[in-house]
Amino acid sequence: MTQGDPQVGRSIPRPNARRLLQGKGRFVADKTLPRMLHVAFVRSPYAHARILDVDLSAARAMPGVVAAYDGADIAAHVTPFVGILTHMTAMQSPPQPALACGVTHWQGEAVAMIVAQSRALAEDAAAVVVVDYEPLPAVCDMEAALDPASPLIHPDLGTNLCWERRIDSGDVDGAFAGAAHLVERRFVFGRHTGVTLEPRVCLFDYDGSEDRLTLHYSGQVPHMMQAVLAKHLGLPESHVRVIAEDVGGSFGIKIHTYGDEIATAVAAMLLRRPVQFAADRYESFLSDIHARDHRVSARAAIDANGKLLAVEIDDITGIGPYSVYPRSSAIEGNQVLNLTGAPYLIPAYRGRLRVVFQTKVPTCQYRGVGHPIAMAVMEGLMDDLAAASGRDPADLRAINLIPDDAYPVKSPQGILFADLSHQASLARLLDLMDYQALRAEQAAFRARGIHRGIGLASMVEITNPSPMFYGVGGAPVAAQDGATARLDASGAIHISNSVTEQGQGTETILAQIAADALGVDPSRITVTTGDTATVPYGGGTWASRGAGIGGEAMLRASLALKEQITGIAGAILQCDPTQLDLADGTVVDAAGQTRISLQALAQMVYYRGNELPPGLPTELIATRHFRVEGMPFVFSNGAMASYVEIDPDTGMIKLLGHWVVEDVGTILNPQLVDEQIRGGVVQGLGGALFEECHYDAEGQLLNATLADYLVPMAGEMPDITIAHIVTPTRTSVLGAKGAGEAGTTGAPGAVLNAVNDALRPFGAQISQMPMTPERILRAMGTIE
């Protein structure tokens, strides 16, 4: 046994946060390389237009300009990318050039680029580029886009439909025909975006003498980017190095291929100089992926006992003009189809998804990916069913949630669930928030004309994905991650891992895991992530997989190093290695007595190997990889509640409280888990209440500044109370599930139900997010 308290399970502060607190972050835009140049893009002012001519001559004559390129100039050096996954049958999306060639398909698509000695000089030159456009009809509304009379965004495809999928499981029609209560509702989920506080930024450094390209990368997937760059720039993968140091927020925004970044790579290779592109906020709104933008018609039915009989949804989503490479833009809708109703036992299910092209910014995976929609739809229906049948919403959920002893359970969509705790989570939630007392308080306030509402939501979150997510569809996205642990001569432990750090605490929990396995204090451990030249190959950080997959690899690598150390110690001490353990930086025997320090052992191996028995294996470094097997995904689950007050005169919503019970399996660092949940809840509340990309009928984004696009502020957010149920996943030794997207997944449904609970005395209901004051007043009939 290891002496001392285990490090896993403790709220250890993040060592790497100290330099961020002192202004010593290492963000990409902080980096300056010798002879570095800067980029500005000319972006299309039209949502849809033919590009008749791009005249760069005036720009080339501007001060400080080193080069100027149009779409064809860049296209000569990079192959186009196609954002489809082969396992999504019949999905189609045309090849996408790095810069628009011939036709521009959204307002903000990059049409030309200027490379200059400073960003300011590049912007000056971009302002004098003359582009001759012939406007084409904008195709903005996702439903109108499917009208046979609609203009086609990609005439070669013959349709504006990217992908369609249907699920039909069980006797849905029979269930609805025989139902005691049937509810129907149409939900609208606005289009929003991630607003990483650090805008997208990249710095490419090409060394022509060795034909090597280095990307200083603000993102989550270094190895994926290595593969993408190599493939499309025609370089051997081994000649591409991707280095991610500090990342100023990502949330899924920074796992995609962006044409402007690829064009920056081309410029760096053509000019053989370092070239940086740092988007400003306006560019971020016009070129970072957007997300959501779904309209869902849904119905559900229960029998006289309140048991769910069937659920049916029809989801249509607009994804912009291209499916984004390489993960595709159909995943979000697919998650909606797959996960609606996931917490409940449902005998019959029918779903239809249509993924539609439109001339707006492309959408793709952003924190939660479809989950907030799937959960809000089902939780909205559950509250409608509770109202229709005169049941308390908590009681109706308790009747229908999958029993905690029922697993494994396969949903009617064919999704496999294991090791979940919906019933325990709901029970804990009701206790945590003192549900009955809160209901009594709500009634008392209502009697005084104060309108408060309580909303519940049960949820699942896809975490720790297996290769069945992307790899199966042909994307260069690793589902397996690697970890290395090594002992140096000083006795220091150095670990590295292919999952990455964006501030969530990845490096801290990796050190905690290694510390326990190796019997050292976490402060003795140095962690490296984010550099394809130095870390094992792997998928990086997305789909809440860092702790569960990267952490398990770390555990296995650390235990392998431990076996190496005890093997060597056994030879030195002339005893059975299996009787040795590691504690407090030393090798200890079965009685817990210190026998040799790690430092002394390592120095003997490295400096005085002559003292060791001949032929003794003396490796002091181990690498292990891990991928999830046997399950496509490892789900986490949870339950949430929101408490709100509505001002019926203004439509303003005040958030009074928010409670979360989450089952993330083994908790590695309680503080970090809770902070992931809190941050996620607030992003979910942002999408539910404030955040929306407003477009006009011509496809112009009307609020592309942070002054106009609302994100949650400190003064509007409630304190968030969190508790846990712990059901470790049996797919790993560590037992950790993901936690990163739970908050965003559950919060919108909870607050939707809370708002409608408050509106119930007015006979009003809102089903559109964000739930702005205007929409509240419209729902109440106060305004038209």
Partner: protein, 154 residues
């Protein structure tokens, strides 16, 4: 245009373009702890102190600081003026990506100078010009409340 200012306690002279923003000037001077987030004066990532007041580095021109005293996260770290806030932020995990953090610390420092023992609502209100996309704010409020209590001996 030539300017001379006291930057983190040192007199600095520089030749700047009239159009250069203060945040761009500071970052070009190697003080990269101050960040550019929105360039509209909304998000607060570029917060610095000029003449003792927290201002938006993106809304002020570098030339406007001629003859002024300018302090950034680097200077306040060096002087240990906010060491307790930094420690509390660390303990409470009141940062994730760290991009907003310098602005949060400077704004919190200003709040506690104006109001040594603010309520949680007061803290939330005062920080509402500083956006954080990672934490959900609660840990930041906790950290500042901790320091207010410590400094007030409570």
């Amino acid at each position: 245009m030539k300017i001379s200012l006291t930057l983190n306690g040192e007199v600095v002279t520089a030749d700047v373009e009239p159009r250069q923003s203060l945040v761009d000037f500071l970052r070009a001077s190697g003080l990269t702890g101050t960040h550019s987030g929105c360039e509209h004066g909304v998000c607060g990532a570029c917060s610095v102190r000029v003449g003792g007041h927290v201002v938006r580095g993106c809304l002020m021109l570098a030339v406007q600081t001629d003859g002024q005293t300018v302090e950034t996260i680097e200077g306040l770290t060096q002087s240990a003026a906010i060491a307790d806030l930094q420690a509390a932020f660390h303990r409470r995990n009141a940062l994730q990506c760290g991009f907003c953090t310098a602005g949060m610390l400077l704004t919190a420092h200003e709040l506690l100078a104006l109001d040594p023992l603010p309520s949680r609502d007061d803290i939330r209100d005062y920080l509402s010009g500083n956006y954080c996309r990672c934490t959900g704010y609660q840990a930041i409020i906790d950290a500042i409340a901790d320091v207010a209590a410590e400094r007030s001996g409570r």
